[in-house]
């Protein structure tokens, strides 16, 4: 049994071992092993391919573009979610566009991974959920694990993907719960959702740390005789549309959950997809449970901000017409 961060570390070890062009870079990833210890041990084993960069996120992602052009497979660590904002320019304007700009010629297999999300009592700008920014950036794929096994499998798949992939790791799940992680080669293809729990009455669609909240809500709903299905998206780009539409076609009810602020969040994209492709199957409103359209609050208030089991359960009852 491993933690999610240990699974990330395992994937990095395996991929560095497998492919001599994989190059891990970021702030404090080498000697320290990363502030969350995701890169611990890499420097000892691969001294030339685990690099402590200057404190400059746009420089990290910007030089990664050049490294990719030179034949490397850079795996950049951004220390915290919101520290990625200075690098959004490089990510949106270059990482996601270089391939098109070069007529499909330039290799741009870059991974940008970062811990994200709230729930760990962290200071300002250490708790953001920036997934919509990346999902909206054309040319970039986005993966988000919620289990240790998926953390290893998605990261390995991302590193092997020929396109740039942003991997967002839910930091509140870094240390617990533990889960089984397959040893050796283990790939979870991007674009396939995971059926986290089966149910017939309502579909709860979530990713990252919200999958656990949805599963807890499902337990509570069972007490009321409501069977909730929980879908863990695992990858936002590509999106497993069939898994979402297929489940809602059966249950007729949908709740979409995200930590990020509501407006233009990824839950809105899922709701729009259901409106376009599953409206005939819907027997109630599509309900979103999200963070609020305010900056992530000081951590003493974060429990009031983050979608809770209670809110998700209430939303599911509303979607199911039971409230």
């Amino acid at each position: 049994m491993k933690t999610l961060v240990e699974a990330v570390n395992g994937a990095l070890h395996d991929e560095l071992e497998r492919d001599p062009s994989v190059f891990v870079m970021g702030e404090d990833v080498g000697v320290l092993g990363g502030v969350f210890r995701a890169t611990v041990g890499l420097r000892e084993r691969f001294p030339d391919r685990c690099f402590d960069t200057p404190l400059a996120e746009a420089g990290i992602v910007g030089t990664a573009v050049g490294l990719a052009l030179a034949g490397w497979r850079p795996v950049c660590e951004i220390q915290f979610d919101a520290f990625g904002y200075p690098a959004l320019d490089q990510t949106i304007a270059h990482v996601g566009r270089y391939r098109a700009r070069s007529g499909g010629g330039a290799p741009m297999g870059i991974v940008v991974r970062m811990p994200y999300g709230g729930g760990v009592r962290a200071p300002e700008l250490h708790q953001d959920s920036p997934e919509a920014y990346y999902a909206h950036a054309a040319g970039v794929k986005v993966a988000i694990p919620s289990t240790p096994a998926d953390a290893k499998g998605l990261l390995s798949a991302a590193i092997r993907d020929p396109d740039p992939v942003v991997v967002l790791e839910p930091k509140r799940l870094y240390r617990a719960p533990r889960g089984e992680v397959p040893e050796g080669e283990w790939l979870v293809p991007l674009g396939r959702a995971r059926l986290a729990a089966r149910g017939d009455d309502v579909t709860l669609i979530a990713y990252g740390a919200m999958v656990g909240v949805a599963l807890d809500a499902r337990q509570r709903l069972l007490e009321d005789g409501i069977g909730a299905e929980v879908i863990d998206l695992r990858s936002l780009v590509p999106l497993d549309e069939e898994a979402i539409v297929g489940s809602v076609a059966r249950t007729g009810r949908a709740v979409v959950i995200q930590e990020a602020p509501r407006t233009c969040g990824f839950a809105a994209e899922v709701a729009a997809l259901l409106a376009e492709r599953a409206v005939a199957d819907l027997r109630g409103p599509i309900v979103r449970v999200t963070g609020f359209d305010v900056p992530f609050p000081p951590f003493s208030l974060e429990d009031a901000y983050l979608p809770s089991v209670q809110r998700v359960a209430a939303a599911a009852r509303r979607a199911a017409g039971a409230e």
Binding site: L67, A70, G109
Partner: protein, 341 residues
């Protein structure tokens, strides 16, 4: 006078400069005729572009800004490709590995870290490949320039950072761009070599770049070259510099423009006469004209190319949109294009 450059090599530089000049002058005319989109003019920058590029080995990569859009011509890139780029056509995209020329970076300064990362990456592979990034004076104010040079200094990347200081970022003069006395002074802060050179003197730029590349290849790290010149033409075809500059001063500057200067130098050495100069000019003009004619004769590329080049392994949803656009192009209704599933 530049050491080691024989008469033929000097004439080669001249022909390169004339080709760039010819491209530029005709591109402006084509834009006025509605045959190109908005075009960024490089008139007066030929000396520094040619001098820097010719100091590189063929394996060294160039990272151009829009001001060096035609730099690939010096590496054998077809003129058609550059014209297509300014026409907003897919044929204007190129694989940077083909001519060791990175794609044109439109946002100012953003490609500086690309060049640094590339050079660093080659060095880590023990390849003797350097990189050269062209950027303007305005770029030195950007965060990307700062982070790029910070990385370059730390990793000792074999990179030449060539600042084409033409005095203007559109309407903003260098004096409003920085408190630094000279842009090259910034090199000190990054712990890298810096050199300032007359950007209107092709041989001076050639020598400065040659020294910088030699240092880079020998493991001596990056160099910031400030090539000082004047912008004597509008920033781009959409610009009206009469609103911000002194026309009289520019007229004086134009009398010392780089191609004229070099032509006189060559004439003084009896390496060229007016007949030969005119022959070179005519030949370059014809090449650009023929390329433009070829571009305009070409059948348009299907719009679906935008789907084919965005990803190596595209998300399945794109296939649906691609099919819809293809049906539209084939004259069908294209139901669903841009309208969701």
């Amino acid at each position: 006078m530049s050491a080691g450059l024989g008469p033929e090599a000097r004439l080669e530089l001249y022909r390169d400069m004339v080709l760039l000049r010819s491209f530029d002058e005709q591109a402006v005319a084509y834009q006025r005729q509605g045959r190109l989109g908005t075009y960024a003019i490089h008139w007066g920058h030929e000396a520094l572009q040619v001098g820097a590029l010719r100091a590189l080995a063929a394996v060294d990569w160039v990272f151009p800004s829009y001001r060096e859009s035609a730099i690939g011509l010096l590496r054998g890139m077809p003129i058609e490709t550059i014209l297509s780029w300014w026409r907003g056509e897919p044929a204007g995209a190129w694989d940077p590995r083909e001519h060791a020329v990175a794609n044109i970076c439109a946002p100012v300064g953003a490609h500086v870290p690309h060049a640094v990362g590339f050079a660093w990456g080659k060095r880590m592979r023990d390849e003797a490949t350097c990189a050269l990034a062209f950027f303007g004076d305005g770029a030195t104010s950007t965060g990307a320039f700062h982070e790029g040079l910070t990385f370059a200094g730390v990793v000792r990347a074999p990179v030449v950072l060539l600042c084409s200081n033409n005095g203007w970022a559109i309407s903003t003069p260098v004096s409003a761009q920085t408190g630094a006395e000279k842009l090259v002074d910034k090199a000190v802060g990054y712990g890298i070599a810096g050199v300032r050179v007359d950007g209107g003197d092709v041989l001076a730029v050639y020598e400065a770049t040659r020294a910088a590349v030699a240092r880079a290849r020998a493991g001596g790290g990056p160099t910031l070259i400030e090539a000082v010149t004047h912008r004597m033409a509008p920033h781009a075809t959409a610009d009206d510099p009469s609103l911000y500059w002194d026309e009289e001063r520019v007229a004086t500057e134009r009398r010392r423009e780089c191609l004229l200067r070099y032509e006189r130098q060559l004439a003084d050495l009896s390496l060229i006469d007016e007949d030969e100069a005119e022959r070179v000019r005519r030949s370059c003009r014809d090449r650009v004209r023929e390329a433009m004619a070829a571009v305009e004769r070409r059948a348009p590329v299907p719009a679906t190319v935008m789907f084919d080049t965005a990803f190596a392994d595209p998300p399945p949803g794109l296939e649906r949109d691609r099919d819809a656009v293809r049906r539209e192009e084939e004259g069908g209704e294209g139901e669903g294009a841009g309208g969701g599933p």
